[in-house]
Amino acid sequence: MSTEAATEVASSEHGDGAGHDDHAHAHPKFLAHHFDTPLQQFETAKLGMWAFLAQELLFFSGLFVAYGIYRSWYPETFAVCSHLLSRPMGGGNTIVLLFSSWTAAMAVRAAQLGQKKNTSRFLLVTIFCAFIFLFIKYLEWGHKFHEGLLPGHYFGHQYGGFFGAIPADAEVPDLPAKAHIFFGIYFIMTGVHALHVIVGIGVLIWIWRRNERGDFSKEYFTAVDLAALYWHLVDLIWIYLFPLLYLID
């Protein structure tokens, strides 16, 4: 139904499927020739992005289910280990990411209004926030490494001796059994999330460069919009990770 409607609109604009070159106004530079209208191109790109985001959610859901299973099996271990994570750092990172989500939304708004300079500014602030997030993450992880709070059988093995034998009586804080499982989940979940942050930085830099080059306008801001959508997803995941990992009891 919808495609029929779209084709109808298009054919009425183009006459009886006349050559696209005859209608330069209907085919601006940014419009790929296999699309009839800018709106159709925009909707198609958005649909594709949302399909990707849905996939991202399903991908992360595997980690969240693993978290759910183990938290349900070892509730006390999770509560005790959660207190070893730094709430100020986790909370601070939450605010940093929320702020970067706001600046990403503002970048899209500026792009929609055709304000090239503001788009660039907001994109740069977003990228800067992403780096702050990673820096705080680095401090947190470093701290855990020094204390030997590592995933799986690396647990209890203090930083500096990854390749040696794991001492049976390593100086590890007195923790409940299965603590290594909590830290396995912590490192994988925050690690995969941090990987998304790093990819996001790359995408945002690319979009910033394209904006500087003058690719975008009031009529065409799709790429800015989609990059921001991806960045909001990264924020979305963290919104759940923070209370689930840092704020247990």
Partner: protein, 157 residues
């Protein structure tokens, strides 16, 4: 779908159905308010974590996180003004995540309650007897039991 959106937007912005993109642009003050709302909810979830509510803590944390996620998805990600098909796709992903959780945890949380053939007649969480299981043996050899039987309360203290 594009038909629906374009007519909607034509109504709102009085644009003709000209095939151009007419985005809904929110005022910047509105975005600031959403951001401040998100910060308040973050502070709230941190505050609530210091109050002991037992199992309610987890539920409250998830409800607040979902509120925050809704704000981000609805306004920052423009789903409210977007093609409704995108929202449908997003929500269907959530539905399948729900199914994933429900079926998996229904299994993992109830292992040991019914499978007496494997000697798992106790609740895995607390080691207490599960109804309907076999009577415990006089001298249990814990080393032969599945790992998850021996976890939880007793071992951690």
């Amino acid at each position: 779908m594009s038909e629906i959106v374009s007519t909607n937007q034509a109504e709102i912005h009085e644009h003709p159905d000209d095939g151009a993109v007419h985005a809904h642009i929110s005022p910047w003050q509105f975005y600031v308010k959403i951001f401040l709302g998100l910060v308040c909810l973050t502070l709230l979830t941190i505050g609530v974590a210091y109050i002991h509510l037992g199992k309610l803590n987890l539920i409250v944390a998830i409800v607040i996180a979902t509120l925050k996620a809704s704000l981000v998805v609805t306004f920052f990600m423009h789903l409210k003004y977007d093609n409704k098909f995108n929202a449908l796709m997003f929500l269907s992903a959530l539905l399948f995540i729900g199914i994933f959780f429900a079926y998996t945890m229904n299994d993992t949380d109830h292992r040991g309650q019914i499978d007496s053939a494997q000697g798992t007649e106790r609740y895995s969480g607390n080691g207490k007897m599960a109804p309907g299981g076999e009577q415990p043996l006089e001298h249990e050899d814990d080393s032969k039991m599945p790992m998850h039987r021996t976890v939880g309360g007793s071992e951690t203290k």
